[in-house]
Symmetry: C2
Subunit: 171 residues, 2 copies
Amino acid sequence: MSRVFWMGSVQHMQMSEGVEWALHSCLNLAWAESGTAVTATKLAAFYGLPAAYLNKQLQALARAGIVASTSGPRGGFRLAKALKDITLMDVVVAIEGPDAAFRCQQILRSGPDADPTVDYRTACVVSQAMSRADLAWRRELAAQTLADIRATVESRSPDTPELTRNRLAAK
Amino acid sequence: MSRVFWMGSVQHMQMSEGVEWALHSCLNLAWAESGTAVTATKLAAFYGLPAAYLNKQLQALARAGIVASTSGPRGGFRLAKALKDITLMDVVVAIEGPDAAFRCQQILRSGPDADPTVDYRTACVVSQAMSRADLAWRRELAAQTLADIRATVESRSPDTPELTRNRLAAK
DNA sequence: GCCTTGCTACTCGGATACTTTCTGTCCGAGTCAATGTGG
DNA sequence: CCACATTGACTCGGACAGAAAGTATCCGAGTAGCAAGGC
């Protein structure tokens, strides 16, 4: 009796959803921009996101030099580079930080035949194998720019640029 | 005044350190095994890990069919497959769960021109791009088996099998 | 002497606390623009 | 009419709570072996 059903794994190792917000916001900035800055509030209203929290993510993009921020009336955010110079990797690093998903804790340090002079982050074979996968991931992210994304979106939905511009221009 | 120094990004999107523990423990099981099971306590003592928590990770490996568990005296864990049939991907999925790192929240659902009939996890261009990177990561993890890891370790440190076996055999 | 039976010690398994990270909110510093005033 | 100081509202920026996940621990269910007792 009382059979136990395994409900499936819980959600592990997920990146912040701020990455998704940041990517879409950058695209919207590219479509909206005609020399004017867009406030975090407007960008958040686009998807019903909490404005203050999106603002936090945009700050991270600003620190990374992806967007530029202006305070005061008529202030807001605008792209600091061309879309073709912004890779997915740039955005992910800006939001999630530069560290690899797999963190080698160097547990071999505590093992029976440990050598204190060795850095197991580079020497440990397990760590090397995991790093290989991380590098493949990063390579793929770095190979795609936001310009590529925009081009694909516009080819599928040609109305998107105008719709977005209008929506952001509206008070 | 009171200049603020940015301390660098905090550590985001890190996978559980249980992955590292699980990988090393599987290798140790392969070296120790001579038909006998090894307890979680012994495996934990190898690196000074909390035994009960390592046990938790080993349970996850057991659910995934990577190791088999036996209760009672002379019980413990032993490999359920050959090392060549265990990929890094298998271990990561067992510990971290099957979900991708990037979770498309389908924020386009809340966008201005949303189509409720569309599943944006597959339709959203941003999601597709992120998935491409995830797939590259998974492909790399699936391409490496624990047998590969063992072979590399043994070629670099030929003493490891015997050292490990002796250490695990010791009371 | 051998079989049966009960017991004890041992191990996994999942339920339970504690810590860190992520998510969300708030208020202050700075800024630009409009407005009113004086020349 | 034009220049300038003042005011005011608006926006980002970082500091401050709440929620969720990761980490660590504990105790119970089950099992295998051992020991004692009976045949």
